[in-house]
């Protein structure tokens, strides 16, 4: 379990991986764009007056489809991985997952509500439907996390063990209600619901992207400021207090970052599992548990991994598309099992 890489070499490797992921995500698809066209179209999108053969088509594909999709993947991967670090720190357990505080199941419940109730009202206005779905998912995630946090409060302190159990109970409750909506849904709605639960970066639009980008930037700037406090928290809550940290405030901030981050990610791209669990764990194996390195490393790795998973989802069955949740679970679940078995040995 000793770190095998220096932080510097890891950051170089991660930066290269992210660059490659961004490039491929922009260049590959039903129409593959050569590097020159991709670069030219990208620069034109940013306002540089460049001419070139096929630049118009490339610009259209990039601007309308691949750039928003790539940015969405970048933000979702970053924020899920950071939320994973926050939760593993909060619960002082390397196997914790952002879903533990109920944010994912709450968001799924909100989405199921929007999809099924929307359909039973005879379909929402075409223009409003995606926003309403995202809004309900985001609100559902926040609401369930707020309830879990309230239940964990005792005498002015947050008991994370009770939060964990409350999260399990509310996840079960949300699952039952989603089941109820599923039961009430007709066949077409059922298909929408199922696919939403598997997650996808398909149909990314700038309008749905901005709120998530904003939340991601805030979380990515905020959490590293708490890196030292997170390190101390791993020693134990009292130990962190003895070292002078305001542990109650730290716990509140960690829950807030996770609720907003994961809530916004799920609202924009559906349920995408295992990134928040696997990425921080993997980074910890490579460079150790120091949050000053772990947080930025996880953000970079989460973004790259999600973009590569999306590439696989797009390309494996092209021109059809796999839901990305299937890809991340296919990669993540065996890795999680490997960690469990290794931990026991």
């Amino acid at each position: 379990m000793r770190p095998v890489l220096s932080p510097r070499s890891l950051f170089v490797a991660l930066a290269l991986a992210l660059f490659l992921a961004l490039w491929l995500s922009l260049a590959l698809g039903p129409v593959s764009l050569p590097p020159g066209d991709t670069l030219r179209a990208l620069l034109r999108l940013f306002g540089l007056p460049l001419d070139g053969e096929g630049a118009g088509q490339a610009e259209l594909i990039l601007g309308q489809i691949r750039l928003p999709r790539t940015l969405l993947g970048l933000a979702v991967g970053t924020v899920l991985a950071l939320a994973g670090v926050a939760m593993q720190g909060l619960f002082r357990n390397p196997l914790a997952d952002p879903g533990l505080v109920g944010v994912s199941s709450g968001a799924a419940l909100g989405a199921a509500f929007a999809i099924v109730v929307g359909a039973s009202l005879g379909g929402l206005p075409e223009a409003l439907a995606p926003y309403l779905l995202s809004l309900c998912a985001f609100a559902g995630g926040l609401a369930v996390t707020a309830v879990v946090y309230r239940l964990g409060r005792r005498d002015g302190q947050t008991n994370v063990a009770i939060m964990l159990l409350a999260g399990v109970a509310l996840t079960a409750l949300a699952g039952a209600l989603i089941g109820l909506f599923t039961y009430l849904a007709d066949d077409a709605t059922l298909r929408t619901l199922t696919f939403w639960n598997l997650g996808s970066l398909n149909g990314a639009s700038y309008a749905r992207l901005w709120p998530l980008l904003l939340v991601t930037v805030v979380v990515a700037l905020w959490l590293p400021r708490r890196a030292r406090a997170l390190n101390a928290l791993l020693l134990g809550e009292s130990e962190a207090r003895h070292l002078g940290f305001d542990v109650e405030r730290l716990k509140r901030e960690l829950v807030l970052c996770t609720a907003f981050g994961v809530g916004a990610a799920v609202a924009a791209a559906g349920l995408i599992g295992f990134i928040g669990l696997v990425v921080p764990h993997l980074m910890r194996l490579l460079v150790g548990p120091d949050h000053r390195v772990l947080l930025p490393a996880s953000a970079l790795a989460g973004a790259s991994l999600l973009l590569f998973a999306d590439l696989a989802a797009r390309l494996v069955l092209a021109p059809a598309e796999l839901p990305i949740g299937i890809v991340t679970a296919l990669l993540g679940a065996p890795f999680f099992l490997y960690l469990l078995v290794r931990g026991r040995a």
């Binding site: 000793r2 390190n231 791993l234 002078g244 940290f245």
Partner: protein, 255 residues
């Protein structure tokens, strides 16, 4: 300097500590003895602000403990808990380095202090190892080095609270650990240490507080407190008290 007046602590409806008057004096090692459940750790918890007293007050430099800002308090008061539950693979020097988090003394000075604190806890040879690979006793010494680093080099006005720092240590390291506490006291720090070994207390403590069912039974020098009658009354153990042939402090043997 840490001082309590009329301290009482309740857990639920039960009073687990009452009527404690205590002052930790600079340069002094104060031992706290008593049977299991006598309130030793409760006293330590109240002294460092982890437990709210139900009566009385805890004063750090004549200011209530709660009135201090976190980092200010952490530079004056360090606490070693009975056991720790760190389950992440930090390297030994990183764990000790966490003692420097309340300070802004710079990387180079911190590295010197970490090395000195590790040497003081006789754990210098563990540098570079993962904390999770260590034995229980080695982990205990690493945490000792961490709280020493938090107050390093130790000065008047600081307090160090140790909850059974020798519970997992071999005989040699029981002595090196308490010697490190003594060295800190020698530089002016007020040290409170919870112990179970009467002879270690006799050798290293300047004063001893004997707790019995949440109340102070005796408070005084080892010679005053470590006598057959109070020990019989509190522990229910019949002992012979002799004088250490070389060092002159009390030597306690069960009859």
């Amino acid at each position: 300097m840490l001082r309590v007046e009329n301290l009482g602590v309740c857990r639920g409806a039960k009073t687990v500590l009452s009527d404690v008057q205590l002052e930790l004096r600079p340069g002094e090692v104060l031992g706290v003895l008593g049977p299991n459940g006598a309130g030793k750790s409760t006293l330590l918890g109240a002294l460092c602000g982890e437990l709210q007293p139900s009566g009385g007050a805890v004063l750090l430099d004549e200011r209530p403990l709660g009135a201090w800002s976190g980092p200010e308090r952490a530079r004056r008061l360090a606490v070693l808990p009975q056991s720790s539950t760190l389950s992440f693979a930090f390297r030994v020097e990183e764990v000790v380095g966490m003692g420097r988090l309340p300070h802004a003394s710079g990387r180079q000075r911190d590295a010197e202090i970490i090395a000195a604190a590790l040497a003081s806890a006789d754990a210098g040879h563990l540098v570079g190892r993962s904390y999770l690979e260590l034995s229980g006793g080695e982990r205990q010494r690493v945490h000792l080095a961490r709280v020493l680093a938090q107050l390093w080099p130790g000065a008047t006005g600081q307090s160090l609270l140790l909850d059974e720092p020798t519970s997992m240590l071999d005989p040699l390291h029981q002595h090196t650990t308490l010697q490190a506490a003594r060295d800190f006291a020698g530089r002016g720090v007020a040290v409170l240490v919870i112990l179970h070994d009467l002879n270690l207390a006799a050798r290293y403590c300047d004063r001893i507080l004997l707790l019995d069912r949440g109340r102070p039974h005796a408070l005084g020098t080892p010679e005053e407190v470590l006598r057959a009658e109070p020990l019989q009354a509190v522990f229910g153990l019949e002992v012979l008290v002799q004088t250490h042939p070389e060092r002159g402090h009390p030597l306690i043997v069960a009859r």
